[in-house]
Symmetry: C2
Subunit: 212 residues, 2 copies
């Protein structure tokens, strides 16, 4: 029993350290960029006496980035699954755009103030090496896949090149739009209003006529 | 006469050095970010024996960034003025969006391959301190002001908050969309095709119905 308690306690402590490192890394990456911040700096800023703490708990910087992304993606995915359940079978583009945008903005809203994940995400998305981690983690989630399939059915007439380019534009709008909103020191709108405006605009972008 | 020639030659040399520093700084900033690169590194990479060459020719880093932006803005502005002359008085949103997007993509296209300015611009736009420089330089140009006024007249019915948010989204799409296209090692489309797709999508985004 004592051993069991001791073990659980050590495990709790380790879980607490992991969380502390994740939160510290997210903030530092958001503020300074992925390349500017070393694992050693993160360990120090997280108050770890051992400079190798990040390596011990997470491995490489890519592993650490993936752990941060996964933690958020899991919660975003839960919110998305709830929304998808309500619109399944819809042929309305806007329904699916809501499922794309709102889980992210709701998650950021629930994180409280200040949040760092949107700026962290913008740093990851701007980096050719780390960007794939975000895509892999997000696309591995069934709810996002269902949303993309739903949108694909609604937009079946869109030529391939336009579909590709518009998908890329939506990614840019979501990533950088959320980062800008998060960065605003005196936001002019709630996350809900931001989301509604993004949904309207992205729906217009997706359904615009294609020239040529 | 001899003095005159000598003077011109020194001035040419100085102009050549300035151009070399501008081009070197643009590339380094595009690749590594504005904070990662020092004036000293730029001087060295530009082959200047004197480490203070950047300071001597341009002053602070902000002055250097402004000089790079201005050089491109002047050429973009010439292209924009030509397009504006063709659509003056138009009440068609797409006409004005063409005047917004195409001068930038045409300029990038003419710079040849590889270009760095789009990635440099994405770095500047992501930085709260330097971003204002870009806005100041761009908004000081009469052709851009005329485009924004033209769009404003077409979209007079759009509520203020939507106009503000959509303006911000267009800025994100243009800055990051061009940077992504520039970054692509095997681009799937010409700059012309990229521009047409952006114009279609931005027109749809701007004219989308507003909820609530």
């Amino acid at each position: 029993m004592v051993t069991e308690v001791g073990r659980r306690s050590r495990s709790d402590q380790s879980g607490g350290t992991r969380q502390l490192i994740l939160a510290t890394a997210e903030r530092l990456f958001a503020e300074q960029g992925l390349y500017a911040v070393s694992n050693r700096q993160i360990s120090a800023a997280a108050g770890q006496g051992n400079n190798a703490a990040v390596g011990y708990h997470f491995g490489t910087k890519a592993d650490l980035v993936r752990a941060i992304v996964r933690q958020h993606t899991e919660r975003i995915e839960e919110l998305r699954a709830e929304l998808v359940a309500r619109v399944r079978g819809s042929t309305n583009v806007r329904d699916w755009v809501v499922c794309l945008v709102c889980p992210v903005t709701t998650h950021l809203d629930r994180l409280g103030d200040p949040t760092w994940y949107a700026r962290f995400g913008a740093q990851v998305a701007a980096d050719p090496a780390f960007r794939d981690i975000m895509a892999e983690e997000s696309l591995a989630t069934p709810a996002l896949r269902e949303v993309l399939d739903g949108l694909g059915r609604c937009l079946a007439d869109l030529p391939t090149h336009a579909r590709h380019q518009r998908g890329e534009m939506i990614r840019l709008l979501m990533v950088h739009g959320c980062a800008e909103r998060e960065r605003a020191t005196s936001p002019k709108s709630t996350w809900d209003d931001t989301a509604t405006g993004m949904v309207d605009a992205i729906t217009g972008l997706l359904t615009a006529p294609v020239t040529g």
